[in-house]
Structures are given as C-alpha cells and as structure tokens.
Amino acid sequence: MNDRIEEFGDERLVELAKKGNINAFAELARRLQEKVYHTIFGMTRNHQDADDLTQETFMYAYKALEGFKQKSSFYTWVYRIAVNLTLNFLKKKGKERGREDFEDNAPVFDKAAYTALSPEGDSLKRELKEKLDEAIESLPLAYKASFNLVVLQGMSHSQAAEILGCSENTVSWRMHKARKMLQEKLKPFF
C-alpha cells in the first residue's frame, strides 16, 4: 500500500486521508512541504518561524480535512491555510519580530546554494538587496502577502487571488501599491 501511495493522485490521497490514513496525508505533505515552506519563508524571512508554521499548516489541514469540500485543489486549500496562519502570526508578532541572520540557521541550509545567492562582489547591489529586504519587510501585510505570492512564488494574479480570498483586481491593485511603495523607499539606489 505504502509503495503504491506515491503514485496516487492528490484527490485519491485526500479521500484516504479523510478516512484517517496518515500515510496518505503524509504523502500529500511530502509533495507540498517545500513549496509551503518557501511561501511562508517569503513572509516571515525566518527559518524557524517558517518551519514551525509549515508544521502547523499541515497539522491544521489534517484536523480540518473533513471540512475540505474539494471546491478548490488541495494545493490551493493548503496554501490558503498557510498564508492565513502566517498573516495571523505576523500580526501577533508585529514589529517585535527580529530577523535572524542566515548563519544562525546554517545547519539546515544547503551552503553552496546559499553562497550562490549572495554574491560577494558588487557591494552596491548587496546594499540594494539589503534595503529591498527591509522595504518588503515594511510593506502592509496584505500587500506583502500579494507581493510574496506573485513575485517570489511566481503565481498569477488569479492563483494569488484564490489563495488570498479576494478578487484578481484586488491583487492587481495591491501589487501596484506595493511596487510603488518599494520604489519610493529605494529611490536613493536608482
């Protein structure tokens, strides 16, 4: 059964998981955990928080699975939980949130990949990235969530709207406002 479970489609796995099949749900989580983690990390920018919230997302999803009416895909449904849990978390944590340096989380990261993402060369570029990092951090939560899904996760406005529970036009508007705010804050670098 466990060998075959990896070949099952999401819908079949959801059906099995609804009946309490932990292996089926674990397989769903295995397929999505990395993407969910990155989505959350895009907003928390902290490994430990993202890791905890990823776990929380799947636990929440499992507990609420009976209420999942499959109107949307499992993927969208889990993303919606992840984004909302993260937004609630950030709201609670507010401005007290400190940002840990990547080095603090070094054991779980692929060092080579990280180094490749942080070129030592161009100091101006690095400074721009630091400021951009701060500017994104300071965006209103609703804007930050849209920016994260569209720019960092590469979703369409339509996909982001489905996850955020708003219209495409709202996402489009938030993207426009977020970008306008970012470019205002980064003006000295242009």
Binding site: T54, F109, K129, H176, R179
Partner: protein, 203 residues
C-alpha cells in the same frame, strides 16, 4: 493617458496581465514619457532583485526530519484528538443529541445577528488585522483623488459581489479567510456588504 494610470498598467504589464490593446497603449506612452520609462525600469529592477532574495534551499535531510515530526504529530492527533472528539459529545448528552442540534442552531443565529448588527469596532475583534488602520490607510491614499476613489470603489464592489455568497454560507472552518477582503473595506462598502448580507439571509 495620465502617468498615474500608466503606473498601474506598468505593474500589470510586469505580471503579464495586460491585453494586447493595453500593451499597445502602454508602449506608445512609454515611447513618449521618460518619467514612466524610468518608473518601469525601477520596477523591473525591484522585481528581478526580489526574486533573488528569498530562496533558501533547505537540505533534503531536513525535509525528511520535518516529515517525521509531522507524522508523529498526526499519529498523536489520531490517538488523542479524534477519539476525544468522538467521545466528548455523547459523554455529556448521551441521549439528547437533539439538544446539540438546537444549541448549534441558536449559536449560528446569534453569530449571524452579531455579525450583522454590530459595528465595525466590534467586528474588528474577529478579524486578523486592524480594521481602523486599514480604513485610515485607504482614506489617506484616495481622499484627494476622485478618479482613484471611483476606481477603487468599483473593484471593491466587485469583490463584495464575489464574496457575499461565500460569506453567507457561514459553515466555514476558516473564518479568517475573508479577513483580507474585509480589511480593505471602508464604511460605505461595509454598509453595502451588510445590506447584501441582509438580503441574502432574508433579514
């Protein structure tokens, strides 16, 4: 076309959301307006740089450990959570399940009335974000620009019509799902939502 409108269109263009016609208008404007060309370049730089910021690659071993932790959590939930939920109701009202149905109906009715009749301040308590902050922010942004206000109201009202059905279903384990949507509404739009809900619920 005014530069203010073009800015929104530039943003949509970066996300690949423009029709051919709008792309053509944008192209013409950009060929004539250095300021908007500069704006687009800045947004494109921000877009590209942002995509290189937050892509940590976690070692595969971590995902395996993470899945093991989740599995342990799921097994614990199966042992404790599901069983305790199943036993809890009959233990209190073993032969009076109808009492629960009545209580649930009363609670649902109370929640609906509370949601509809209470003001924005009370509503803030069940929302994920500060309603007043959001409304103030929106007011600041649009108060001096009737055109912007009109546009804003137009798509917010579309959102209301899209969401009213969803909100009125009430039976939804993710009550916070609509927080982002509600957060964006001003007083006028909330009133519109309230009247739409009343109509939907025949109150």
């Amino acid at each position: 076309m005014r530069c203010r409108k073009i800015e929104k269109r530039i943003s949509d263009g970066i996300d690949g959301r423009l029709s051919r016609e709008k792309q053509a208008v944008l192209k013409i404007h950009l060929s004539e307006c250095a300021s908007c060309r500069g704006y687009r370049e800045r947004l494109e730089t921000i877009h590209k740089q942002s995509q290189t910021l937050f892509t940590p690659r976690v070692a595969p071993k971590h995902w395996q450990e993470s899945l093991s932790r989740l599995r342990a959590g799921l097994e614990a939930e199966e042992k404790t959570g599901r069983k305790s939920r199943k036993r809890w109701m009959p233990a209190i009202f073993p032969k009076r399940r109808w009492t629960w149905a009545g209580a649930a109906l009363l609670l649902a009715a109370a929640l609906v009335l509370y949601f509809i009749r209470s003001g924005p301040n009370a509503r803030q308590e069940i929302m994920a974000f500060s309603f007043e902050d959001a409304v103030n922010g929106i007011d600041q942004e649009i108060k001096n620009n009737p055109e912007l206000e009109k546009y804003f109201n137009s798509f917010i009202q579309d959102s209301i019509h899209e969401h009213v059905g969803e909100i009125s279903e009430v039976v939804n384990p993710f009550h916070y799902e609509n927080s982002l949507f509600l957060e964006s509404l001003n007083e006028e739009e909330l009133q519109l939502l309230e009247s739409a809900l009343k109509k939907e619920l025949k109150l």
